[in-house]
Amino acid sequence: MSILRAVLAVPEAIVLLALPPLLLSVIAKTKAKFSGRVGPPWLQPYFDLYKLIQKTPVYSRTTTWVFRTGPIVNLAALLTAATLIPVLSSDSLLGFSGDIILVAYLFALGRMFTVLAAMDTGSSFEGMGASREVTFGTMSEPALFLSFVVLAVATKSLQLSQMMGSGLAAEWQVAAPALVLVVGALLIVLLAETCRVPVDDPATHLELTMIHEVMALDHSGPEFAVITYAAALKFVLLGSILLHTAIPHPPSLYFLGPMLRMVELAALACLVGIIESMTARLRLNRVPMLLAGATVLSSIAVVLVLTGRMA
């Protein structure tokens, strides 16, 4: 890692840490536009986080230390993943060969602790939410892994920052059909993992229909702020995996690349807002269908890439 890269990483990290809540408000604004409302102010997510941080947390007497560590471990896992995933510039800070597996398991670790914290409350609602989260998680993980396999085979690398970005630009000339399928699969994974509409509705407050929100019901104060922030950060991370695959920037862009990436992230948030406004939430027993669809898309992409290599 050169010194220049280390210096440049500081502003990038600041932007990366400050950006996630803003994307939440891009989604909220898009949805408001569609339903003819003005929507909350742009900085509302930041105000909410500030308000939550100042509150005193309330703990139920049935909870143990697991309940308190859950949100923190989740955020820590995602922040670690953020150093491995190329977000704004197309090389990551600490990437090494084989880091895709670490990234996938960091996501899994975060999920595991969220689920444990939810189950620790002893509430049947949260147990239900935890069960759903794990069920849908096991279904979206194969899609994510198979998409990684496609990228790894196409670029012959096991390092996320080399698998995506400029290394992939040449592959779009050769293996475009497979990559389009991967982008489709990653979009479904993004919607499922960040609990957006076709899978889960973040706005609803009926415990019976929620997945992710229901697990956070008992968290309050700063811990709830951590959960909200971690959810937004997860959107940024998965969103940049999607964007780096869909629109690989050539390295000749230099400083323009990260700027462009920010605009693209905002556009992606807009797209998610549009999808949320135009589609209804799927019935719970149809969700596995959607996720299996993502797995099928990426597995066909794997076959296409592999047979393309052999021929």
């Binding site: 059909p177 269908m289 669809g293 099928v296 066909i300 076959v303 296409l304 052999m310 021929a311």
Partner: protein, 220 residues
């Protein structure tokens, strides 16, 4: 090169439509998916011909328009009319669940892609995917045929099988006389027409069209 990737994209879309068909729960949507798939297939002979960069012959144009007129307009119209007038319950009623049949279908697709490259053909195919996609479509059609209860989904499954055969026929586009191809299309039309009438009458006589009950001697 450009038209090559368009052909590949169209063939992959055909496979995805097969899987979408296995996943839908509405009969009418099944018919529309079939119409979409047929439209893509009707465009294929033209694309394959354009790849040779010479003037369009009569043969591919006749095939394309014949297939489009029949399989995109007439057959879906007949089937949708049967659905409407037969007062058929609009759900598919699979014997294997939707998710399971879609996963089964994708296993078939993967197997076909794995084997498609190894088969030796007398002529060099225009696209490497052509053979695999045709096999996958035929087998997915068979899966729909055997795993769905309703008579009308069996008609759709039969049509999907025919679509697969049509893709296979594209391999031999230059060798087959146009009359043979149009004859196949005519046969297909007659078959669907008769099946439409039969489905309608099964519905009229027995108030359902569950093919599992056809082997019982009398209605209980």
């Amino acid at each position: 090169m450009m038209s090559q990737s368009i052909i590949d994209a169209a063939l992959i879309l055909v496979v995805l439509l097969n899987l979408a068909m296995l996943a839908t729960s509405r009969l009418a949507r099944c018919v529309r998916i079939f119409a979409m798939q047929s439209l893509l297939l009707a465009a294929l002979p033209l694309l394959l011909e354009l790849q040779h960069t010479r003037a369009l012959g009569l043969h591919p144009v006749a095939i394309a328009f014949g297939a489009a007129a029949l399989k995109v307009i007439v057959i879906p119209w007949v089937l949708l009319r049967v659905l409407r007038t037969g007062e058929i319950h609009r759900e598919v009623e699979p014997m294997i669940g939707f998710t399971a049949s879609m996963l089964l279908g994708s296993l078939i697709v993967i197997a076909c892609f794995a084997f498609g490259h190894r088969l030796v053909l007398p002529v060099k195919p225009q696209s490497d995917l052509l053979l695999s996609v045709s096999m996958a479509t035929v087998l997915n059609g068979l899966l729909i045929l055997v795993s769905r209860v309703k008579a009308i989904t069996q008609v759709v499954g039969f049509l999907i099988v025919e679509n697969g055969v049509f893709i296979f026929g594209l391999l031999l586009l230059e060798q087959t006389p146009v009359l043979v191809e149009l004859g196949i299309l005519l046969d297909l039309f007659v078959a669907v027409f008769i099946m439409g009438i039969v489905v309608y009458h099964i519905r009229r006589e027995f108030d359902h069209m569950d093919t599992n009950l056809l082997d019982a001697l009398k209605e209980s």
